[in-house]
């Protein structure tokens, strides 16, 4: 596994995420979020989960990001800038980060290198999905349908 690649991707991801969290302009934040997502997809590639990476790009970049910018467009009227102002939130977040760091460094078994594994093919995933995970799959289908309908109902204009 390539350390250079890892570093590059980690910087891309974290920078994108941080930008998404603190940039005053919503639209910039959303676009930076896309960068963070792309970085995450890179992580997945790096970890050998190509399929997840592709799905990540497909879903987040192709769908969620588009949804977000669309929503921004539709609710844009007010003010476009939003400066981060609540230091309390930042403090909590920082505290959690420190806590997590402490927990991660506290655990010794984590400093392991990746074992060599067979590449995970799409076919393997498909087979597991259709056998062991067929019920979750169906449930997710139902959830997605419900979400689709729910979202439609929510944004449907009230009849006058």
């Amino acid at each position: 596994m390539n350390t250079a690649a890892f570093l590059f991707i980690a910087i891309l991801t974290l920078a994108g995420a941080l930008a998404a969290a603190v940039l005053p302009r919503l639209i910039h934040a959303a676009l930076c979020l896309v960068g963070a997502f792309l970085g995450l997809a890179g992580f997945y590639f790096l970890l050998g989960a190509e399929f997840v990476g592709l799905v990540q790009v497909f879903v987040y970049v192709g769908a969620v990001a588009v949804l977000i910018v669309f929503t921004i467009l539709l609710t844009r009227r007010e003010r476009e800038k939003d400066h981060a102002s609540d230091w309390g939130g930042a403090v909590v977040a920082l505290a959690v980060f420190v806590g997590l760091l402490w927990a991660i460094f506290q655990t010794p078994a984590l400093a392991v290198a990746a074992p060599g594994i067979e590449p995970l093919t799409v076919r393997a995933i498909g087979e597991v999905l259709m056998t062991d995970y067929v019920w979750p799959l169906q449930c997710v289908g139902v959830v997605l349908t419900a979400a689709l309908i729910g979202a439609l109902v929510l944004v449907m204009e009230e009849k006058r």
């Binding site: 930042a90 909590v92 980060f97 290198a113």
Partner: protein
């Protein structure tokens, strides 16, 4: 030196806290959603990383969970954004500070 699990976890933790930061400190509803998406992504990264670094990798459980989580997150985003639009239509604002009708 190759990246260890610890590194991935660090990235994940950072990602999570950035998400938390976004969700806590911003006033615009969409930022909160962005923060939540980031936190979910961090969790996903954890799943996949743990799967990859499992000493005896067998069934791709972590991958599966990640895939399902992505699907659910997409649904969550759709509904959440729809809510934002609905709220905006009704209150003409997306500032969550002003959306406090539910206070006790």
């Amino acid at each position: 030196m190759t990246p260890t699990l610890q590194l991935f976890l660090l990235v994940s933790a950072a990602l999570f806290c950035i998400g938390l930061l976004a969700a806590l400190s911003r006033r615009h509803a969409i930022f909160i959603l962005i923060g939540i998406e980031l936190m979910l992504a961090a969790a996903n990264l954890n799943f996949v990383a743990f799967w990859r670094f499992d000493p005896q990798p067998q069934a791709p459980t972590g991958v599966m969970v990640a895939i399902f989580a992505i699907a659910i997150a997409a649904a969550e985003a759709a509904v959440g954004l729809a809510l934002v639009i609905a709220v905006y239509r009704h209150y003409r604002t997306t500032n969550v500070d002003q959306l406090d009708q539910l206070k006790g």
